[in-house]
């Protein structure tokens, strides 16, 4: 199939970017979107032009590295990752516009690659549990209701891709942060740092310059892992509860 690709090209973080149009004449409907760009890049290199920079890693939908804002949707029109999006989703001869994630907190590094280390810093601020050394506890000793375990697991499937930020009109990271807070808040192992975690992760999220959720739920509609906005409500409860009752007087949000 033939595809016309309108791609955002930008030489570096501070360079001015612009759209460039490329024709891909030999795309197979069975290729993934990334393989289609690989083919185009091969041609560009042969012609002595610079290849289009884009993020990818596992190419099997589990690492969260691939991005791309395709025809007005993060990861394209299907609710999946870009590496799992196939060219058969598009029409022969279609013009496809490809842009990087757009957020103040995700600056463009080059072409379609953005810096998502803000997510790492949020995670480092509180997205962990402390595990003490000593004898190995029996795994079945802690009772966890199946429903709760499932709920925590669903939250833990978030791959940190940032599609929620890309989709949100406020570039809010709340679906991501709420998933990370929820996966621990629901489980017994997460109780020790529970309040501190909510305070610190929200404070870091604010400091990174993400917007504030206005409950439009664009994130839920685009998340490739089906993370639910009920997690955001849980985060709100966790954060409010923590701010009102934790022993910490001096921390917890308000970064501008």
């Amino acid at each position: 199939m033939k595809i016309k690709l309108k791609v955002w090209r930008q030489k570096g973080p501070n360079a001015k970017g612009e759209f460039k149009t490329y024709n891909v004449d030999h795309a197979s409907p069975d290729m993934s979107f990334l393989e289609m760009i690989d083919v185009l890049n091969g041609e560009l290199i042969r012609k002595g032009e610079e290849a289009i920079a884009f993020d990818h890693d596992c190419r099997e939908g589990i690492c969260g590295m691939c991005s791309l804002y395709i025809n007005g949707h993060p990861h394209g029109p299907l609710q999946t990752t870009t590496c799992q999006l196939h060219m058969r989703t598009f029409k022969d001869g279609e013009t496809i516009t490809v842009e990087p994630w757009r957020a103040q907190a995700f600056p463009v590094i080059k072409d379609l690659v953005v810096d998502r280390s803000a997510f790492d810093r949020i995670q480092q601020a509180g997205g962990y549990v402390n595990v003490n050394t000593g004898g190995v506890p029996d795994a079945n000793e802690i009772p966890i209701p199946k429903k709760i375990a499932d709920e925590a697991f669903d939250a833990a499937t978030c791959i940190g891709c940032g599609a929620c930020v890309a989709a949100c009109k406020n570039a809010s990271a709340m679906l991501f942060v709420s998933a990370k807070i929820s996966q621990f808040a629901l489980l017994p192992q997460g109780q020790v740092e529970r309040k501190e975690r909510a305070e610190k992760m929200v404070a870091q999220m604010d400091a990174e310059g993400f917007g504030s959720c206005t409950n439009t739920y664009a994130c839920e509609a685009e998340c490739p892992k089906g993370i639910k906005v009920a997690n955001i409500a849980r985060m709100n409860r966790e954060y409010l509860g923590a701010m009102l009752t934790s022993y910490e007087v001096g921390s917890g949000g308000g970064g501008e």
Partner: protein
């Protein structure tokens, strides 16, 4: 030895968490939700009062009610809280909207596609329409009632201001009735999203309660503005 100054400093340090809370992204939204829900309660009471305008008694019920609302100390206190909440709702709305606009960054998208509902994306615009209406509305009725020269009427032993006639006169202007109705449409759209949204913001999202919250929200957002708008339309046509 600790001086009074020290303990004041401690108090300030001790308040930092509160300031952090209300300047955080989540805390700001809580301000929106709490003030919004309070205004919803206020709208309900306001509507019950207004419906008395339609009573065929030359305005007696409405005027006596208006007198009560402007003289009862408890109601007066609540009304000042209400004004304050309006101000908070509006100021926080401006802060949030500005921050959210800048969060996208310098370069926006060339193409956007969204499946989200229109109301949810345009709360700021809807709010601005409501605000313009509020200013005119307050000048017209609240301002007249408090600072204007409103004629008096006597019911039994009670002498009260005749706000009914002020309303009836205002509702003879077609442009005022039109403005009023348009603003009620804006409130309807604002609450179509806002009612349920406030619960999500406060962390109330539960499969047992969501259907009720959504249903009540949709009914409220249609019925209450519709009844509000009905009053001037009926009085205009009479």
């Amino acid at each position: 030895m600790r001086s009074i100054f020290d303990s004041h400093q401690n108090l300030l340090l001790n308040m930092k968490w509160l300031i952090d809370l209300f300047s955080s992204s989540l805390g700001r939204k809580v301000v929106m939700a709490l003030t919004g829900l309070f205004i919803i309660l206020f709208l309900t009471v306001h509507l019950i009062g207004n419906l008395q305008l339609l009573k065929d008694d030359g305005g007696e019920a409405f005027n006596v009610y208006a007198y009560f609302m402007t003289h009862n100390p408890l109601i007066k206190t609540i009304s000042y809280v209400n004004y304050a909440f309006f101000v908070f709702h509006i100021v926080w709305a401006i802060m949030l909207t500005r921050k959210n606009r800048s969060a996208r960054g310098a370069e926006g998208y060339a193409i956007t596609n969204t499946s989200t509902i229109w109301s949810a994306r345009n709360m700021g615009i809807l709010g601005t329409v409501i605000l313009v209406f509020l200013v005119i509305h307050m000048r017209q009725f609240w301002g007249e009632m408090h600072f204007g020269t409103v004629p008096f009427k006597t019911y039994g032993a009670q002498e009260v201001k005749d706000l009914y006639t002020i309303c009836a006169d205002a509702f003879k202007n077609w442009w005022y009735v039109a403005l009023y109705s348009i603003s009620m449409v804006a409130i309807a759209f604002h609450l179509w999203h806002g009612f349920a949204s406030a619960f999500q913001t406060l962390g109330i999202n539960h499969s047992k309660y969501n259907p009720v919250i959504n249903f009540v929200g949709k009914v409220f957002s249609i019925v209450v503005p519709a009844l509000f708008a009905l009053i001037p339309i009926v009085m205009f046509t009479l």
